[in-house]
């Protein structure tokens, strides 16, 4: 069944690349929303029924870990899978994301196959 997905990254380049990867992947997507930071992402989540979130960590205004905390604290969104896609590869951040409830972690630079494999387990 087609579902809605949200990409959160302050780089429009990365959002474009992820859009391209998603469209070539055999994933039944209905809408792909974009947000430039955690605050914009929360607005998208409030207005739409998003089933999967791909989020960067280092972003202005509200970073990816703060967004993840907000998502897990919200009754309506707490079961929405969240994948972190980030250059932040330190063990501390990876563990922090896992403890906050991230469902996956993809390090930049990534290949399209890495994204597709990660999403295949969740879609």
């Amino acid at each position: 069944m087609p579902f809605d997905l949200l990409i959160v990254d302050d780089s429009t380049a990365i959002r474009k690349i992820l859009q391209r990867v998603l469209h070539t992947a055999e994933i039944p997507l209905r809408n792909v929303y974009e947000a430039g930071d955690g605050i914009e992402a929360l607005a998208v989540l409030r207005a739409n029924e998003v089933s999967l979130v791909l989020s960067d960590i280092n972003m202005p205004n509200m970073d990816g870990l703060q967004l993840l905390t907000q998502i897990r604290a919200n009754e309506a969104w707490k079961k929405v899978p969240v994948i972190m896609i980030t250059t932040e590869g330190s063990q501390v951040k990876v563990l922090e994301a896992a403890q906050l409830g991230a469902n996956g972690y993809v390090r930049k630079p990534f290949t399209p196959e890495q994204i597709k494999t990660t999403l295949a387990g969740l879609a």
Binding site: S11, T12, A13, T87, E88, P109
Partner: protein
């Protein structure tokens, strides 16, 4: 000031992470150029980006720099599109490349100096501009070459000054606090004297 990480280690890390970013995201195979150091970068044209690094043991900056034409070419490979001139998309792509290169450099660096924080990239485009760092910062410049094109990665990393200023006594203070403070100062002075004797 003591050297936290050797220049060779910095260069090795930059070679590894930059090679990986360029080949994975841009399908670009490059050749490392001759590494050199500089105190201040001269006049530049094109695109330059900066990301700040800050940890408990060190502070520094990572920077990428290339001509406008190379920045357009890199953005074109990144986004599978053509960019005849530098625009917002090119600058954004360049910022993200910087984020990946310096971000992965930071992760590798953490194996040597502990946890390090990363700022959000700043990207500048212009002609005949100069960049300056306060103090006597030495930059390690690591070029990457392909065809006639070049991308320069610059890293400036300094150990944090461990000789931190003493915490001032806050009024009201006790006699014991005064005694302790003076005792530490006397011990420090004795150590300094010892170092001077050894050096002379």
């Amino acid at each position: 000031m003591k050297e936290l990480v050797s220049s060779k280690t910095i260069v090795d890390i930059v070679h590894e992470v930059t090679g990986e970013v360029l080949s994975t995201m841009l399908s670009l195979e490059t050749t490392p150029g001759e590494v050199y150091t500089e105190m201040q970068h001269g006049k530049s044209d094109g695109v330059v980006s900066f990301v700040g690094l800050a940890g408990s043991q060190c502070v520094g900056t990572g920077s990428l720099q290339c001509t406008s034409a190379v920045a357009c070419s890199l953005a074109g490979r990144f986004l599978m599109s053509e960019f005849p001139h530098v625009d917002d998309e090119v600058l954004d792509a360049f910022g993200e490349l910087t984020n990946m290169v310096v971000g992965n450099f930071k992760t590798a660096l953490e194996g040597h100096v502990g946890q390090v924080g990363l700022s959000i990239p700043t990207v500048v485009h212009g002609k005949n501009f100069s960049t300056r760092s306060p103090g006597n910062a030495e930059w390690t410049v690591i070029p990457f070459l392909w065809g006639d094109d070049k991308l320069y990665i610059r890293v400036c990393l300094k150990a944090k000054n461990s000789d931190a200023a003493p915490v001032p006594l806050r009024k009201p203070y006790t006699a014991e606090q005064i005694r302790n403070t003076f005792s530490e100062l006397v011990q420090d002075a004795a150590k300094t004297q010892e170092r001077i004797s050894w050096n002379s």
